[in-house]
């Protein structure tokens, strides 16, 4: 009885924990409950992936109503993969959160803070699990509303304006998505993704369907921070509390990438992408995104903002992968979703450690800090190598698949852009290394201690994962490949 309901419990356990957390007294109790809930989720997500990894599909009818009348949870390899990433990042972030939150969030807000964190997790997991487009919209809004609140909890007043800007952009995006769903609904009469796919097939040339598709893509692109709709992201990541930067940078845009894949290739189809200029659009935006966001990253004077621009560049790689519209391209995208979550998780954790000790992530405060905080610095260095794509790191695997996909597509230009992006990554990551390691410590500066162990251990777990998944590609590539095939993307042929 438990086993058949596990996929659902993955979402319901944090959902039940959230109100309980909100009722607990402030202090460490809310944290402990959140930690327990997220580790339980991780276990379930791991089990779920092991069931569907061989191409099985779990279907769960909510309320016992058969789809398309009721809502269906439909879990294939891609859903399970994304759910695993989200719950794993949550599970690793929470041990890190304890001290960081105690420092950055007023004590009287802790229980509600953790409740909101859990609600954000509920939203993201709900998106990953569902097979119904309107249910996806509802859970997208749960995760968005909670992230607006979490970002506004930052200490500086600009956290408020960043959250407001994100709220406006995010709500416009959600409304676009709603318009798109409505236009597709009027042509099909259904909301279930599988049913939609079948009923859309004969009417893919309808103008209403085209418009609906365009609105869905633009709506998701706003949540994805796809260039040129990325303007909300740098400030949102910079001014939010450290823990939230870690969690959102490693999960929120990844889930948005998943929604884009599911909607574009799962609900519509690969054929649709090819007969419309969608693939060329994705390639164009991806190319510009990779180059311009990487260049913008070089000019930042704050580590967190630099990493935020780097995130926009990395998301653009994923969009490039979608634009290639082949099994290899989608595989590369999914592998990079996983690897990038590891990288940005570790890097923002290191940022959080700097903020914990120095109180700022601006370059002028970090002079020579690398020698005083060697573990944090080494973490940044190794993850930086992974971000660049040096062999032996996880980043190399994703870049390798991107280049393979581009070459299969016989597009040298795209392959070149991918390499150029890596070169630019060397430049901006070197800026951090230079400031932290090669600049002298100012005489006036007080000596700074290494970050506490409870911040270092989760950070290093992710750093080691970056190396481990650079050698063991079995999990990532196999799952991504099987997911890409299930998405119905035929191998590329001209």
């Amino acid at each position: 009885m438990i086993e058949q309901n596990l996929s659902l419990l993955l979402v319901v356990i944090p959902l039940l924990s959230a109100p309980v957390t909100a009722m607990l007294p402030n202090g460490r109790m809310p944290w402990l409950l959140t930690l327990t809930a997220s580790w339980t989720c991780l276990l379930i997500a791991g089990w779920q992936l092991s069931v569907v990894i061989d191409g099985n599909v779990i279907s769960y009818e909510l309320g016992g109503w058969a789809p398309p009348w009721g809502i269906e949870y439909r879990i294939d390899a891609m859903n399970a993969f994304v759910a695993l990433i989200v719950s794993a990042i949550a599970a690793i972030t929470l041990p890190y959160a304890l001290l960081s939150v105690e420092k950055e969030i007023p004590r009287q807000q802790t229980s509600l803070f953790y409740a909101t964190f859990l609600l954000c997790l509920v939203g993201l997991l709900g998106i990953a699990q569902t097979g119904d487009v309107f249910n996806l919209f509802v859970f997208l809004e749960i995760s968005s509303l909670s992230s607006y609140v979490l970002i506004a909890m930052g200490e500086q007043r600009r956290a408020l304006t960043s959250a407001y800007q994100y709220l406006i952009m995010g709500s416009v995006g959600a409304t676009f998505l709603l318009i798109g769903i409505g236009l597709v609904y009027v042509e099909t009469g259904t909301l279930n993704m599988v049913d939609l796919n079948q009923r859309l097939h004969p009417i893919l040339d309808h103008q209403t369907v085209h418009t609906g598709f365009a609105f869905i893509v633009v709506g998701i692109a706003l949540k994805l921070a796809l260039f040129p709709l990325h303007l909300w992201l740098p400030n949102a990541y910079k001014y939010s509390p450290s823990v939230i930067s870690v969690f959102l940078a490693a999960t929120a845009t990844k889930v948005a990438v998943y929604i884009m894949l599911r909607m574009v290739f799962g609900v519509f189809s690969n054929d649709f992408v090819r007969i419309t200029p969608t693939d060329h659009m994705f390639l164009l935006l991806g190319v510009f995104g990779v180059i311009l966001a990487s260049v913008a990253a070089i000019y930042q004077t704050d580590v967190k903002r630099l990493l935020a621009y780097s995130s926009i560049a990395q998301v653009s790689y994923m969009v490039l992968g979608m634009g290639l519209a082949s099994v290899l391209g989608i595989t590369a995208t999914l592998v990079h979703v996983f690897n990038h979550a590891l990288m940005k998780g570790a890097l923002f954790m290191a940022c959080g450690a700097l903020v914990y000790r120095v109180g700022s992530s601006r370059f002028e405060k970090l002079d020579g800090l690398g020698r005083q905080m060697p573990w944090t610095f080494t973490a940044i260095f190794i993850t930086g190598l992974s971000l660049v794509g040096i062999p032996g790191t996880a980043g190399f695997i994703s870049k390798w698949y991107f280049v393979l996909a581009a070459l299969e597509h016989q597009s040298w230009l795209i392959a070149l852009v991918i390499l150029l992006g890596s070169l630019l990554a060397v430049v901006y990551m070197w800026k951090i290394v230079e400031v932290m390691f090669f600049r002298p410590v100012p005489d006036s500066a007080q000596s700074v201690k290494e970050a506490p162990v409870s911040l270092l251990v989760p950070m290093w777990v992710l750093v080691i994962a970056n190396i481990y998944f650079g050698f063991n590609t079995e999990l990532t590539v196999n799952v991504a490949d099987s997911a890409a095939r299930l998405l119905g993307v035929a191998a590329y042929h001209e």
């Binding site: 909101t116 009027v186 099909t188 009469g189 609906g212």
Partner: protein, 192 residues
């Protein structure tokens, strides 16, 4: 038969009148600068929408829109206005062209998209032929509820409604975290 034609005609007339009112209100909101007037106009907009929902046979939605749009949203906006004490919108220094362009493109795309949309009120459109018939024909025997909207909301798609409650709950917590400094104390004994 004749009676039905008259009813349809009256429905259409009310529909057009309300739509015209809505359009006028929307233009007024764009052009007005006094925030109090804008909020009141928004309330009127919401109430007209609720009326339109009734004309389009959506009683539940009309009820909710009247309570939420014309009620709660307006009250919250007025409360914000009272707190910010800023009643006049600043005149913009220059007229930006980009927003108008974006809106024209978006609106143009939507008009393009209505080209093969089923006609308004068409009883044989896909949305009326697929999924819906079961709700109409079987919800009474399957759920025992005469109001099919309640049946869909609470039973067939009850999980969406759980999501809806979670959304409201998130908002409540969020508002308390943001501006409920006083309300954070769990009781008088606890120190802060």
């Amino acid at each position: 038969m004749k009676n039905i034609t008259v009813t349809v005609l009256i429905d259409t007339l009310i529909d057009i009148t309300l739509l015209a009112f809505l359009a006028i209100t929307a233009i007024a909101i764009i052009r007005m600068r006094n925030l109090f007037v804008i909020i009141m106009l928004f309330s009127i907009f919401s109430l007209h929408t609720a009326g339109l929902f009734v004309v389009m046979d959506a009683a539940d939605v009309a009820f909710t829109e009247a309570a939420v749009g014309a009620g709660i949203s307006t009250v919250l906006m007025l409360a914000t206005l009272a707190l910010t004490k800023n009643h006049e919108e600043k005149r913009p220094a220059h007229h930006a062209r980009l927003p108008l362009l974006v809106v024209l493109i978006t609106g143009g795309a939507l008009v393009y998209g209505t080209y093969d949309i089923p006609s308004f009120g068409d009883p044989i459109s896909p949305a009326q032929q697929h999924v819906k018939p079961r709700y109409i024909e079987h919800s009474l025997e399957e759920t025992g509820v005469a109001n099919t909207v309640t049946a869909v909301l609470a039973s067939y798609r009850g999980y969406d409604t759980l999501g809806e409650v979670t959304v409201i709950f998130t908002t409540g917590i969020g508002v308390i975290l943001l501006i409920g400094g006083r309300l954070l104390r769990r009781n008088k004994q606890e120190d802060d």
